[in-house]
């Protein structure tokens, strides 16, 4: 071997005597510098790419946080309501019976609140308060009918322009009013509990995200319950049982294509099949879930097949060798080992479904719904659609609410991805 090599070398040196590499020479120094240079450049470009994407992410998060965190707070004004003197005709006893809501609905709280505001803040006092301020007064009376007998001080939401002035720079007139109220100690800004417990409204001071959040939860639940078992079973069958022939190839190609179909097509399909043909209720989470399940299932099948494929054949052979049936091999060995991969794929598919708006617009989940859904067939909306609806609202107060809704959506996604990582680590087994 070495003889052959030296032979070869002598053949070459016959033409030009081979010199030992000159590591100090200019040419080689240049070449080495070029090699190191290109490596440094590549590292710099890679680092730049990472920094760029991190920068975009940071920009998104910082602007969202800067705008959106204000959406979780609310400016309130202390309003003194003199109930005995007000025009409110309400018997405290009536508020304890079954017809409490009816009695409250009949009473003119709107007028009483307006009068109280005029007494407290002058003739234009009503414009300092949110249009929905009287609802707070009504809730306070409902909670404690004893208030009706005395003068009470109730914190009510401030009007949008006062709210904007308290949080950032508003109109000069609103700023002046705010300063005056502040001097009197009649104003405070605190956490807006209504935002996390309420539903959609036309008034940004009483709007809430819970309705859309619950709608998203229900839709995701329907999607998961349908797409996960169907997707996993399909993946298992295709990998473990299906014969390799033209038909299974066709199915495989179809599933891959289905995963790449734009989501709006699934919306049209949902509209045609679930609403027009099966006559299911419009705007309901069940229809949204079914539509998104159609979209998510191919993703789960593909992820599931890859995870099942990566289980080593030696494990199957060993199990079969000691007498396990095919079914036992699949459920005792293959599926548990493939589960981390399947779950990761499922969560990625679900996260995509959570952020989806286009198919849901087609099936009517973009309606104005002022109460959270109480069942799968109740009309509902979902978080991304709520963001879309609020971004189109006229009132300035909705700008921060839109960002706040985006924060809620991002937290939901973060929780789902966190769950995926936890499940993967929990079920992961090494061999």
């Amino acid at each position: 071997m070495s003889k052959a090599l030296t032979m070869n070398a002598t053949d070459l040196s016959a033409a030009a005597p081979r010199l030992p590499t000159d590591w100090k020479g200019d040419a080689i120094k240049k070449r080495i510098a070029a090699r190191y240079g290109s490596e440094r450049r590549f590292r710099a470009i890679g680092l730049f790419a990472v920094m760029l994407s991190a920068g975009f992410l940071a920009f998104l998060l910082i602007t969202m946080m800067a705008n959106g965190l204000r959406g979780f707070t609310q400016t309130e004004i202390r309003l003194a309501v003199d109930f005995p003197k007000s025009a409110l005709m309400l018997d405290p006893a009536a508020l304890k019976g079954f017809n409490a809501d009816q009695a409250l609905a009949g009473a003119d709280f709107e007028g009483a609140t307006a009068t109280a505001a005029e007494v407290a803040f002058g003739p234009d006092g009503v414009h300092l308060l949110s249009d929905a301020a009287w609802l707070k007064v009504r809730d306070a009376v409902k909670a404690d009918p004893g208030l009706l007998a005395r003068r009470a001080e109730i914190w009510v939401p401030a009007a949008v322009d006062i709210d904007v002035a308290a949080k950032e720079t508003g109109e000069p007139a609103a700023e002046a009013t705010l300063a005056k109220l502040k001097a009197q100690g009649l104003i405070k800004t605190g956490f807006n509990l209504g935002f996390v417990t309420g539903a959609d409204s036309t008034d940004p001071t009483i709007v809430g995200i819970w309705g859309a959040f619950k709608g998203s939860l229900m839709t995701m639940l329907v999607t998961l319950v349908l797409a996960f078992p169907v997707g996993v079973l399909a993946a298992l069958y295709l990998e473990e049982y299906a014969p390799r022939n033209r038909w299974t190839d066709l199915i495989e190609v179809s599933i891959n294509n289905l995963a790449a179909v734009p989501s709006i097509i699934f919306g049209l399909l949902g509209l045609a099949v679930f609403l027009n043909f099966m006559h299911m209720p419009r705007s309901a989470p069940i229809v949204g879930g079914l539509t998104l399940a159609l979209m998510t299932m191919p993703v789960i099948v593909i992820a599931g097949r890859n995870a099942i494929k990566s289980v080593p054949p030696s494990i199957r052979d060993a199990a079969l060798g000691i007498g396990a049936s095919r079914l036992q091999v699949v459920f005792h060995h293959v599926l548990p080992l493939a589960l981390p991969g399947i779950l990761t794929g499922t969560i990625i598919g679900m996260a995509r479904a959570l952020g989806e708006t286009a198919p849901l617009l087609m099936i009517g989940m973009r309606a104005f719904i002022s109460s959270p859904p109480s069942g799968f067939t109740d009309p509902a909306t979902v978080l991304p659609v709520q963001v879309f609806l609020w971004s189109d609202e006229v009132s300035r107060g909705f700008v921060e609410k839109t960002s706040a809704a985006i924060i809620v959506l991002l937290l939901f996604l973060l929780a789902m991805n966190g769950l995926a990582i936890y499940l993967r680590n929990h079920f992961e087994r090494r061999w």
């Binding site: 809501d101 009816q102 609905a105 249009d131 609802l135 109109e171 409204s201 036309t202 008034d203 329907v222 319950v225 349908l226 996960f228 078992p229 099966m278 006559h279 299911m280 209720p281 419009r282 705007s283 309901a284 069940i286 459920f331 005792h332 599926l335 548990p336 009517g364 973009r366 309606a367 104005f368 719904i369 002022s370 109460s371 799968f376 067939t377 009309p379 971004s391 189109d392 609202e393 006229v394 009132s395 300035r396």
Partner: protein, 347 residues
């Protein structure tokens, strides 16, 4: 492992069961369903909210913003729980839509005018304070002004009295009712200034429509999507540009933008209410008569609407302009008696 799979199976079966419930539940609907124009949407949602507060016994109405045309399709698809009860419209119902309705069994419809909306041109407060006429707007924005090729680069090219500022107008996309109204109210008015083009209406109406309402597509007119807030932001960033949107946005952003006068008339509440301003249009709601007795709360909802559209009512804070007194009286009469409209009155 078996256990969890069994659990998923049970859940799936339970789900398919509640699925069937859903089918039968939709047959008896207890909430009012409203579809239609995105311009009327903020008014209807405000009324819906007030209606729910005043009548806690009824379920909150469901309002969907589909655009007038899309809403009409749903509204006219039939009678029954699967179909909406009320249609919001930013224009009057068309004859073809009425025929479609009748074909699907929607025979009697109550038509109520709720108020007036203004299509306005606006610019940033730091802009050049333009004064335009519908003819200027038409000549600057039409694809083929008076059948001639569009060559105007600046407003001065359109009318020598105007400043030499490059034409840049942000407006809604063709799917929007606001765009239709802009074409019908302002562009057509400018278009009719030319006698030859006006005469075309009698001979070739399609050609007339194309010449009068077709907007140029060379980047001078920018489609800014359905999001009118975005147009307001663009105007503030670019003082030389103009924007087209509904009056409510002008009112909400009064500190940053102002309306451009057309024919010397500034768009304000009063000039739009009196139809002096060229860009004023009526807004309607359409109610299915067949649903009035069946859907709980529908009559009360219409009654609530009738209290809201007056001058100084809460809808005026959302940008609705109250109709003249006689029109309001007529609408109130229809809303209380719920008289169906006469299909013959629609052209």
């Amino acid at each position: 492992m078996y256990k969890s799979i069994a659990l998923i199976g049970v859940a799936a079966i339970a789900l398919s069961a509640c699925n069937q419930n859903g089918g039968s539940q939709s047959a008896a609907r207890d909430a009012i369903r409203i579809v239609g124009s995105s311009t009327v949407y903020p008014m209807t949602t405000a009324v819906a909210e007030q209606f729910t507060r005043k009548n806690p016994a009824f379920k909150p109405p469901i309002v969907e913003s589909t655009g007038t045309g899309g809403g009409m399709k749903l509204f006219c698809a039939g009678v029954g729980a699967d179909h909406p009860d009320i249609e919001d419209a930013s224009r009057r119902i068309k004859k073809s839509e009425l025929e479609d309705c009748a074909k699907n069994g929607v025979k009697e419809i109550v038509e109520i005018q709720i108020g007036i909306d203004g299509i306005i041109l606006a610019e940033s407060n730091s802009g050049t304070a333009m004064k335009l006429s519908p003819a200027d707007v038409y000549k600057a924005l039409a694809a083929k002004p008076y059948s001639k090729p569009q060559t105007a680069e600046t407003w001065k090219d359109v009318n020598p009295a105007l400043p030499a500022i490059a034409i840049k107008v942000y407006g809604p996309p063709p799917t929007s009712g606001t765009r239709d109204a802009f074409g019908d109210l302002i562009m057509e008015k400018g278009c009719n200034a030319d006698a030859a083009t006006k005469a075309l209406k009698a001979t070739d109406e399609d050609q007339y429509k194309a010449i009068c309402t077709g907007l140029r597509e060379d980047g001078k007119f920018v489609e800014a999507g359905e999001n009118d807030n975005l147009i307001v932001q663009k105007l503030i960033a670019n003082p030389d540009a103009l924007g087209i949107f509904g009056y409510s946005f002008l009112e909400e952003n009064g500190g940053k933008i102002h309306g451009v006068p057309l024919d010397g008339i500034t768009p304000t509440y009063d000039t739009i209410a009196s139809y002096d301003y060229p860009g004023a249009r009526p807004l309607f709601i359409y109610v299915k008569s067949a649903h009035l007795k069946v859907v709980r709360g529908l009559k009360e909802f219409v009654a609530e609407y009738a209290t809201a559209w007056n001058k100084g009512g809460y809808l005026s804070r959302r940008g609705l302009i109250a109709a003249p007194d006689d029109v309001r009286a007529k609408s109130l009469n229809i809303a209380t008696k719920l008289t169906p409209m006469d299909p013959g009155s629609v052209k």
